[in-house]
Structure formats: structure tokens, C-alpha cells
């Protein structure tokens, strides 16, 4: 991650040489995304800190192995799953971190620039509201998932190297571990899971971005209270809770469409050890919930673009 930009980047040097009209339309987008990373350093510091913490914990567990785990003779069928456990824990922790970071980022994205009046500076430059909103939406929808994937892969490789070293030092052989731990497959599954969750949560991020552009203060309350209010009104008026279950489905509903949870004749899906043949991308892509969610996300972003044109410092 390049935060220190004292050196003149190549991209900005050539701007002096080219004719003004020749500026590529993606350049304002590229620089707007970089701008977000300069301003919100927690986007990568938080996952890196969590990864460092996870690595520290893993190191401790290697030095002082818990008695009832690790390489004790287990049922051979379950051994790969037990081996994979710390690796999938690390991945889950990073996904959760990115989710929380993404939520807080989105809630502030279009609010902070109005609060500190810098919106007047951004608007004094030839960057459209569409580019600005899309660059901010790309953080939770593209940058964070890719960042989490890269950090997780790196972390898992370091973890495997460390446990190899630990095995060799204790006089054992690492061959069995390397054969039984399907790390490459796990990384493919992680990429799939990240894509699934990002697409599924897109309306959530879209809604938060819209609220951050709309609310004058207390963006969190404006984001949450209307949903609570709708659920309450529905409960009082119709004695039903469709809205509540809809929200719950939005939080965890992706799993049923994207994975084989209960295949007949096999044990239920172990979230720590998902195999490639347990993914159902076709079913996920054809689920109406996904497309309705994406439509809501698009509507929120369109509204946020329209709204930003009217926005001024608060």
C-alpha cells in the first residue's frame, strides 16, 4: 500500500506532456480511489493489525500446543478439517474485520467531506459526482475484498511455513501436513466466499453510502432507525415480521444459495472446511435475492450521485 507519495508518481508526470483533452476518463477514478486510501488508512491498517494478531496467536499455539489438538491421532477423515481450522479462523476473522471497516467507512464516506468542508475543494476540480460516488462505493465493493484476499493468502502461507518449521524442529515430517492441508483449494473457496458476500451485501453498503450523503448528523442512527421503525410498525399493524426476516436473510441468506449446506448422505457443511464441490455458483447467480439486492444497491448509488450535486458543507 503506497501511502508515502513524496516521490512523483509516473502517472502524474505525463500529465504535463499530454494535451488536456487526451486525459483518460479512468484517471480521475484511479486518483479518487487512491485519495480514499490516503484519507482512510484504517482500511488497510485494521486488517493488517488483525492479521498480525492472528499470526501472534498462531505462533503461541505452535510453541505451546494445546494438548487435545494438533497432530494427535485423530480419525483420519477429520484430520484435514482439524488441520485447516486455524487457517479458516484467520480468514473468517479478516472477513469480519473488513465487514466492520467497510460499514464504518461507508457511513462516513459522503458525510466527512461535508463535515470538514473539503467538499468545496473536491467540487472545484473536474471530477464528476458519479466518479466520486463510484470511487467511494468501490472501497467496500472491490478494494476491501481484494485486500482481505491478499492479506489472508499471505497470512496463511506464513502460517504454513511456521508450522512446517515447528514440525521439522520437533523432529517430525511435514509431508503429511502439506498433503492433507488443501490450502490452494481453501484460497479458491475464500475468493468465492468473498465475491458472494460482497455481492450479497452490496445493498447494505449502498444504503449506508446514501445515508452518509443525506444525513446532516448521526449517520448511524439514520441508517439503522428507519429499518427498526419499519419492522416495528409491521409488527404492530399486521402482527407479522416479514421485514425482520428479510433483513435477517440479507445478513446470512447468501449461505443457503451459495453453498451445499446439507447434501444427502454426507455430514452437514463445516464452515471451516468447505470443499470446491460444495460451492453452487450457478444457484447463487440465479437466486432472486441476489438480483433484488443488486437492484437496491444500484438505486441507492444513483440516488447518492444525484444527491451529491446538491450537497454543501454542513
Amino acid at each position: 500500500m503506497n501511502t508515502q507519495s513524496d516521490a512523483v508518481p509516473e502517472a502524474s508526470r505525463d500529465s504535463q506532456g499530454i494535451a488536456p483533452a487526451a486525459m483518460s476518463p479512468t484517471r480521475p477514478m484511479y486518483w479518487s480511489v487512491r485519495r480514499e486510501l490516503w484519507e482512510n488508512r484504517s482500511l488497510y491498517i485494521a486488517p493488517l493489525a488483525v492479521a498480525a494478531l492472528g499470526l501472534f496467536g498462531f505462533l503461541i499455539s505452535l510453541i505451546f500446543p494445546p494438548k487435545d489438538s494438533g497432530l494427535a491421532p485423530l480419525d483420519p477423515a477429520y484430520r484435514p478439517a482439524a488441520l485447516a481450522m486455524p487457517y479458516s479462523h484467520a480468514a473468517m476473522l479478516l472477513i469480519l474485520t473488513a465487514f466492520i471497516v467497510g460499514i464504518f467507512y461507508s457511513l462516513d464516506a459522503l458525510h466527512g467531506e461535508r463535515r470538514d468542508r473539503s467538499i468545496l475543494f473536491w467540487k472545484s476540480l473536474p471530477v464528476s459526482d458519479l466518479t466520486t460516488v463510484l470511487s467511494k462505493a468501490s472501497i467496500p465493493l472491490l478494494v476491501l475484498p481484494l485486500l482481505v484476499f491478499a492479506i489472508t493468502v499471505l497470512l496463511q502461507q506464513i502460517m504454513r511455513l511456521l508450522s512446517t518449521a515447528a514440525l521439522l524442529m520437533s523432529g517430525g515430517s511435514a509431508v503429511t501436513m502439506w498433503r492433507q492441508l488443501p490450502l490452494f483449494q481453501m484460497e479458491l473457496v475464500l475468493l468465492y466466499a468473498l465475491a458472494v458476500m460482497t455481492l450479497w451485501y452490496a445493498p447494505l453498503y449502498g444504503w449506508l453510502l446514501l445515508v452518509s450523503g443525506w444525513a446532516r448528523r448521526t449517520t448511524f442512527l439514520w441508517a439503522v432507525l428507519p429499518l427498526v421503525a419499519i419492522g416495528l410498525v409491521e409488527r404492530i399493524t399486521f402482527h407479522s415480521s416479514y421485514f425482520g426476516s428479510m433483513l435477517k436473510d440479507r445478513l446470512i441468506g447468501f449461505a443457503a444459495d451459495a453453498f451445499v449446506l446439507h447434501a444427502p448422505g454426507s455430514p452437514p457443511l463445516d464452515p471451516h472446511f468447505i470443499l470446491l464441490n460444495q460451492l453452487t455458483p450457478g444457484r447463487f447467480l440465479s437466486s432472486p435475492g441476489l438480483w433484488m439486492g443488486l437492484a437496491v444497491a444500484a438505486a441507492c448509488l444513483v440516488a447518492a450521485v444525484r444527491l451529491r450535486r446538491y450537497r454543501e458543507p454542513i
Binding site: 507519495s5 512523483v8 508526470r13 500529465s15 486518483w31 484519507e39 473536474p126
Partner: protein, 294 residues
């Protein structure tokens, strides 16, 4: 094509009318000073010109509709809204990188040249700079943009006199050429009198006076009247009269200079003096409401 052209420009916030049907034409190569009391509608008018606020009426800036074409318009328009709008978390080097990245007419070497004359460090964050340095940084960024129109809304607000002087000096010496247009609002009227080519007074959303500085100098005469001539001077219908150290100072609009020279000491008034006179003649204007003039 005029740089700015408005017909019946109007903007209301609820029942408050901020800009009340302005007709305006600013030609290329002018430096227009927009002078008015607080709440006169200056900033609202500028915001409409910059595409920051929707409006009623007709408005064209460099041939474009600012409200629907803000991002394209900003290739040719720069503005300094207020010294405090640069993001405080940003490093000086990042500001240069970013503007170079998104602005096709930004000359990075030129901005670096301006910054080299200051004590601003490239690794500093905006929050670490003094108010004057932030203004210098913003001006360096803006002056390195090859824009056709530069809008300055209170650019020197809160700066000490040295910075203010420097600000307008570098604007004139290093930036302005006859092909650019500058619109500036300020309360420190007297400091920009020599800079302007045109002056406009605005009050309660309406243009009260709009003339070139040549016209200003030929039309308005201020006379410190000899004690014996006060009655004769008053007969020529001054637009304003004030007392300084027991002597009457009368301001005339369009009265022959030779004729007035016989009555006392003649000079061209400052914009501030004229401002006070014009605003004072506006009905219902309390004396305390004219701020910054004089």
C-alpha cells in the same frame, strides 16, 4: 462570448430571497470585485456560477450551464471558496499528486515553483500548516491550473496583512494575464482597489452598482469642502456627506471636476467610501450593517 452571462438569475432559500433577479455580463480579461454587506447574496451568486447550487433564470459560464455541467466546467474554472476547505488530513505532496492526477490543465512544475518560494514542507499535512500557509498552498494549486475563470470568495479571510498583500501581488504578477477573468469578493475593499478593472456592489440580492474602474474614476469625485463653500457644494446634490475633523466631505456622482475644484480639495473616492455612500442611501439600511467598508 462573455465569460459569465446571467439574465434574471434568482435563488431563494425558503422565503428568503438570496439573489433577486440579477442581470450580469462579465467579459473575458476583467478582474471584477463583488462588494456587498454580509448576507447580500455574493456567495450565493458565486455558488450558482460555480455549479454548486441550483438557480432560476438563465446563466452561462464559458458557454456552459454550470449546474448540469459542473465537472466539465471545472476544467476551465478554478475557485478558492474559503481558506479552510483543503482537507486537513492531506499531505502537501498528496494534494499535488491528486490535482495533477485529476486535472488536465494542472502544471505541476509551476505549483512546485510557487511552493518553493514558501516555507511549506511537502511532507506536512494541511492540519499542521498555519492559516496563511494553507492559503499559500491553495493559491499555488489554483495558480498552476491554466483556467479561464478564477473565482475567489473571501480568499484572504483571517489572514494577516502581509499574507493578504502577498496573495494579491502574486495573483497579479504570476497569474493574471489579459485572457483570464477573475471574480473576487472581499471585505477588505481598500486592498483590492488597485487590482480591479470592474467593481460591482450587491445588496439584498440585487446589483446596486456595476461599472469599470475607469468609469468609477471619472464619475465619482470626493471633495473636502472649504468651510465657506459648504452651501454651494450642497447645491450640487452630493450623493453622500460626512464630517471628518469638523470639515465636510461630500461625494458627487457625475459632477464636473473643474467646477468642484473651486469648492475644495478634490480627489477620487475609495471604493469603500463610495460603498458606504451607496449603501447608506439604500432605504432601511442601519449604519452598523455596512461592514468592512471604510
Amino acid at each position: 462570448m462573455a465569460c459569465i452571462e446571467a439574465r434574471g438569475l434568482r435563488k431563494a432559500f425558503g422565503t428568503t430571497v438570496a439573489v433577486d433577479g440579477i442581470d450580469l455580463r462579465v467579459e473575458e480579461g476583467r478582474i471584477l470585485g463583488l462588494i456587498g454587506p454580509n448576507g447580500a447574496g455574493k456567495t450565493t451568486a458565486l455558488n450558482a456560477i460555480l455549479g454548486l447550487t441550483p438557480y432560476q433564470g438563465e446563466l452561462m459560464v464559458l458557454g456552459r450551464d454550470p449546474w448540469t455541467e459542473r465537472d466539465q466546467l471545472m476544467r476551465d474554472v478554478s475557485f478558492v471558496a474559503d481558506v479552510a476547505v483543503l482537507p486537513r488530513w492531506m499531505r502537501v505532496s498528496q494534494a499535488l499528486d491528486y490535482v495533477a492526477g485529476v486535472h488536465p490543465r494542472f502544471d505541476r512544475a509551476k505549483a512546485e515553483g510557487f511552493l518553493a518560494k514558501t516555507t511549506i514542507k511537502r511532507a506536512s499535512k494541511v492540519r499542521e500548516l498555519s492559516k496563511g500557509m494553507v492559503a499559500q498552498l491553495h493559491l499555488a494549486l489554483v495558480m498552476a491550473i491554466d483556467a479561464k475563470l478564477l473565482v475567489l470568495d473571501e480568499p484572504t479571510l483571517g489572514l494577516d496583512i502581509l499574507y493578504r498583500k502577498q496573495f494579491y501581488d502574486s495573483l497579479l504578477n504570476d497569474y493574471f494575464d489579459r485572457s483570464r477573468t477573475i471574480v473576487v469578493t472581499t471585505h477588505q475593499v481598500e486592498e483590492i482597489q488597485d487590482v480591479l478593472t470592474d467593481v460591482m456592489f450587491i445588496n439584498r440580492g440585487r446589483i446596486v452598482l456595476h461599472c469599470s474602474m475607469e468609469e468609477f474614476e471619472s464619475r465619482y469625485v470626493e471633495v473636502t469642502v472649504h468651510p465657506g463653500q459648504v452651501a454651494a457644494a450642497r447645491a450640487l446634490k452630493p450623493i453622500h456627506e460626512r464630517q471628518v475633523f469638523g470639515r465636510s466631505i461630500l461625494l458627487f456622482d457625475g459632477v464636473d471636476r473643474q467646477q468642484l475644484a473651486a469648492l475644495g480639495d478634490v480627489r477620487t473616492p475609495s471604493i469603500a467610501d463610495l460603498f458606504v455612500a451607496v449603501m447608506g442611501n439604500q432605504a432601511g439600511m442601519a449604519p452598523g450593517m455596512v461592514e468592512g467598508a471604510a
